[in-house]
């Protein structure tokens, strides 16, 4: 960083004091640091330091075969890993020109929307915690647990899911997964309604969040904000609607927008997105009934990793498995960009391929990283308490910030 201001408290005449917020502070919800210069409780200026958990994923990805990059994407925004996984699979499918069957698309939509709900549960719940109302957070977390149980049925893991394969899913959804999904669709709306009634018109909460950290649409666009933050500022940009992937064009849903981009509108936008996600999942379930129930991956044996039992018992599967693992199948020499609507905004994958088994260069467009750039400038003149709820409503996930 060039010309990084260094704040000290060495001048005894100075009215200002320096406060080191982070990297381990209960409010940062992740490892990142802000050095703030305070006048009383008002922030005069601040400097953000990032990179505390930088793991060089983009560089690691250059040495891994495509199917082994999925676990790296898990660890970007770990609150909604499935969206990252699916985004990556779709990027590779775009590179390899694989057409996925409709059923795969719908299953992916279900998983991605569940992930979006899980992410928004955390963000809005934690906003409640940061304003001092802990209870609503726990009401919601119960349902994140239900979502994690659905993940478990689908792929066997919970947080860093590694869901799916290039071309589809590694196995079909079992009946328990659908049962749990239906139970979730039945129980969650009640809690969400209760959560909204706890906060939406709560006088203290509205006073705390209304007009705090308001961002105009122009500013938001100039910082290339995306996702709920941009929509809260009044711009109806949603990748699912603007540039549909995974058959989102088949679904009927609304893109909620806020008015002035403050913490309160972000909160409302996220709540409304959860309702819309529920709508999408219900439509997807209805559509699944019309699809053949045994299809869960595209018919691309040269790229879709076969199940282990087939590898051991079936010659073709063994051959394809060998070829995929050894990277002996030629891939197109080209570059693709694919983006999905992550929970925090447009999650993009820019993939340059030289025909080998791993990317020549891979870049993640991480919404948290881009959204966070405005944090220090917008904190100027804010009270410490406002800066903290602003941080939690930006929903900066350290894994996605630093990659």
């Amino acid at each position: 960083m060039q010309n990084h201001p260094v704040y000290t408290d060495n001048d005894p005449q100075s009215e200002l004091s320096t406060l080191n917020l982070g990297p381990t502070h209960p409010a940062t919800h992740g490892v990142f640091q802000n050095v703030l210069q305070l006048d009383g409780e008002r922030i005069v200026s601040g400097v953000s330091t990032i990179g505390y958990i930088h793991r060089a994923f983009e560089k690691i990805a250059e040495h891994r075969p495509f199917y082994q990059i999925t676990p790296l994407t898990d660890r970007l925004n770990y609150c909604s890993s499935p969206i990252n996984n699916m985004g990556w699979h779709m990027t590779v499918e775009k590179l390899l020109n694989i057409q996925t069957p409709k059923r795969v698309d719908y299953l992916r939509v279900i998983v991605m929307e569940l992930a979006r709900i899980a992410d928004h549960i955390i963000c809005n719940g934690v906003l409640g915690v940061d304003t001092g109302a802990f209870t609503g957070f726990l009401y919601m977390m119960e349902h994140r647990e239900a979502i994690y149980e659905i993940y478990e049925e689908v792929c066997g893991s919970r947080l860093t899911t590694n869901i799916g394969r290039i071309g589809g899913f590694e196995r079909n959804f079992n009946s328990r997964a659908f049962d749990k999904l239906r139970a979730f669709l039945k129980n969650f709306p009640k809690t969400l309604k209760e959560f909204e009634s706890l906060f939406n018109r709560n006088r203290i909460f509205v006073d705390r969040t209304r007009d705090v950290a308001a961002v105009s649409a122009e500013t938001a666009l100039s910082y290339s904000w995306t996702g709920p933050l941009l929509r809260a500022a009044g711009v109806d940009y949603d990748v699912r609607a603007m540039n549909p992937y995974s058959s989102y064009e088949d679904f009927d849903f609304e893109v909620p927008v806020g008015d002035n981009g403050d913490v309160y509108s972000r909160f409302l936008v996220r709540n409304e997105e959860m309702w819309q996600s529920l709508r999408i999942i219900e439509q997807a379930l209805a559509k699944l009934d019309k699809e053949p129930s045994d299809i869960f991956h595209a018919d691309v044996p040269e790229f879709y990793l076969p199940p282990k039992e087939e590898v051991y018992n079936n010659m073709e599967a063994l051959i394809y498995h060998f070829k995929i693992v050894m990277g002996e199948i030629p891939t197109p020499t080209t570059e693709v960009y694919h983006s999905v609507e992550g929970a925090n905004g447009e999650l993009g994958f820019y993939l340059v391929n030289d025909g080998g088994r791993s990317p020549y260069r891979l870049h993640f467009r991480r919404p948290s990283f881009i959204n966070y750039q405005m944090y220090a400038p917008m904190s100027r003149g804010m009270l410490l308490s406002d800066a903290i709820i602003n941080m939690s409503s930006l929903n900066v996930i350290a894994g996605e910030l630093d990659a």
Partner: protein, 343 residues
Amino acid sequence: METTDLIFRIVLIVVIFAISLVVAMYSTYAERKVAAFFQDRIGPNRAGPWGILQPLADGGKMFLKEEIIPTNATGFLFIVGPSLAILTACIGSAVIPWGSAIAIGGHTFDLQVTDINVGVLYIFGVVSLGVYGIMIGGWASNNKYSLLGAIRAASQNISYEISMGLSIIALLMLTGTLSLKEIAEQQHGFAWNVWRQPLGFILFLVCAFAETNRSPFDLPECETELVGGYHTEYSSMKLGFYLFAEYINMFISSAVMATLYWGGYNYPGMDWVAAHVGPTIGPLIGVVVLFGKIFFSIFFFMWVRWTIPRFRYDQLMDLGWKILIPLAIANIVLTGVISTLLK
């Protein structure tokens, strides 16, 4: 003073001190159970049946924790802070009338450690001193989060003491005395002050929340902004003292509130009980009634804490100076006008 009287006083002091501590201890347990109830959880249930030994386990843990005094802290004041907090919290209970005079074996005893004629002022003085514990501790820690917490606590307490005092003035205009014993006696039966001073009670309640640093006024220690607020640097039993002082304060505030507004030990039909059941059992029921009121009010403190968010610092000041103080003054005027007209 007779010897029996003296012995009774000493016993009473010890009993009240013990009760304050036990109530405060079990308030921590109650808080966790109440929070669990609100949040669809079970709460502590490992130590003893239903977890009732949890406070003892917590106390033991606090004593056994390593004692850390930061290098840059002001050593002496660092120790004075929590001591002052717990001391002022404990001495507040001295003037509270726990029951009407009780007859044991021909003697009558007052269930009050001391009836000073400025009891209300005494309570106020002691409560005001409590903030010194927080300020000194926060300042001596030499940590910016602690300092911010201490400053918040100081300005908050000063602001809310004013409206608290003003809300009491309206009450004192009706009672005409500062002695808590007389105030309690005036509310005989069901003639509780809260019926005559509803607005004053609400103001007092809000201020009591602020004085005890409870949510929604828990800014001095709000975890998500100031890490631990004024007790960020504290560990071991010194931290325990701060946390404990908060619960004792809550108990004392509830007791004062019950005495000033909710009739203290008085309950409807107390004369009938005293006449038919006896002068020993009657006042004892009064004591139970008082504790019932206190426990409900402690529950109310917890109910609020686990339901609503907290204010921002400037909003807190706005509420105190721009809303509560004018309302309290209006209440005084209203009380004066109405009581003059009714004369």
